[in-house]
Symmetry: none
Subunit: 261 residues, 2 copies
DNA sequence: AATTGCCAATGGCCTGACCTTTAAACGATA
DNA sequence: TATCGTTTAAAGGTCAGGCCATTGGCAATT
């Protein structure tokens, strides 16, 4: 016989479980009120504090709603699909999504980072990643970079053929190019960093940069820059790769800020 | 003038929300312990019962784990919990919604990055962030950095008093120190990068580094380094800050790799 | 009929106490 | 020296009782 792990469940869990069973059994149909906290405490032979903890647990998962001065209302068992609690939680905890309550939270991952800050960071990180890549790049990695380069060239071609009125230019090739260089550095941390930096340039503020990309010779110049970087990687010349990447980003920075003022 | 609806949040929600923010800000990284209930209650100016209710709410949502007689452990932000999985995913990889960028560049973020790679990247990024911070730091930011420094000193003290057999050393103070400097740089991108780098040093491989921290004079030396960095920031000396941060990380790298071979 | 005032019921929160569990620290012992 | 109980401080678990704030129905008032 397998050993039965005896676990002294914390009281609030036991109470919450029991209440949940009673609710599901129909003892307290949706819409009705649970007995008052004081009664529950006495009936269960526990303190009111424990009952309150149990009720809060049930409230957090959206099974009941506590109304001050009124009572504890049993809620409808909402869509018990894969993400039942999601909608429930969102409804029951407006503060979870309410911007008013996320003030100063610095939800650092959603925060929109200004283009200049992003580019400044990339300007600092990517040349080093490129230098590392020149030293550590494998033939396969080089091939994947070359492929990204080609794709970027195609992207640029497409945009020029269509003129300014085409669909928004896809920067997938460009992103892929930078991303794969970072991966080729052999240091996954650099790849992580650059991936995050690239991932944050989807904010509205980047529309300007993207517009610039099409209304200037930026794409041509970028392509030349990319070619230089690629050559340096092929030559496994760390210094050249670092310099080429730095020049490239300097150019982007300059272009952006020349127009931005 | 429209009437402003007064919304008296129940106390446990305010507390839970605040704790959640602190956790997300990095004050209490995953794996560390929250302050004892009694301390929290006193610090927040509320009763212990309310703190407990908040902790239960956080526990139900899978953000913390309460261990009897031990403390409240901060958990990894797992999407397996009751938390809204979608928004969680989107929060961590904003570009996940862009189909053009989702191809092949799968560098999953759960991947464990080797300590050396992590430290190398930090070695490259943090000195620059420190230099920027020296130029842009505000009095409030400086105060928050000083507070993190103090906390780190306390952490070290605690570990020394207990000797080698003490409980695992909390690096919360150290993390905070580095993170707040990044935030003080005025460039949110640097803060983002460093936050992610720090967030990855919880893998098993870092146990060695953490052990070293206690079995050598690393904590003393680190503390001196931190002091130098702090002084440079106070003096608003960018070059000194950059150098101090670089020296600090060089020391950590050296120590780790002298022992690691 | 509408408004106002009252009040019992109910949840919200606090204080302070005591118990149980955990794990570090300590000794005793082999 | 290493191992194994014992001790003990710290942390969570629970309880009792009290006071406050809100709600909602009912009665008194206009």
């Amino acid at each position: 016989m397998p050993i039965q792990a005896i676990r002294t469940q914390r009281l609030y869990r036991q109470i919450a479980d029991q209440l949940r069973q009673l609710i599901e059994r129909g003892e307290f149909p949706p819409g009705t009120l649970l007995p008052p906290e004081r009664e529950l405490a006495q009936a269960l032979g526990v303190s009111r504090a424990s009952v309150r903890e149990a009720l809060i647990a049930l409230e957090v998962v959206g099974q009941v709603e506590v109304r001050v001065g009124h009572g504890v209302v049993v809620l409808e068992p909402k869509s018990s699909s894969v993400l039942p609690v999601m909608s429930q939680a969102a409804r029951q905890q407006p503060w979870a999504l309410d911007p008013e309550f996320s003030d100063e939270t610095a939800l650092d991952f959603e925060e929109e980072i200004p283009p200049y800050a992003l580019l400044q960071a990339r300007r600092h990180v990517e040349p080093e990643a490129a230098a590392l890549a020149a030293e550590h790049v494998t033939p396969e990695a080089l091939e994947s970079i070359r492929e990204a380069f080609t794709r970027n060239v195609e992207d640029n071609h497409r945009v020029q053929k269509r003129g300014g009125g085409g669909r928004p230019h896809s920067h997938a090739g460009d992103r892929l190019f930078h991303m794969r260089i970072a991966e080729a550095s052999g240091n996954p941390a650099y790849a992580l960093l650059i991936k995050h930096l690239l991932g944050h340039q989807y904010g509205v503020m980047f529309r300007r940069l993207q517009d610039l990309y099409m209304t200037t010779d930026m794409s041509d110049r970028s392509q030349e820059d990319h070619q230089r970087i690629l050559d340096a990687l092929i030559a496994k010349d760390a210094n050249a790769a670092r310099a080429a990447m730095a020049d490239h980003l300097d150019y982007v920075l300059e272009t952006f800020f020349a127009e931005a003022e």
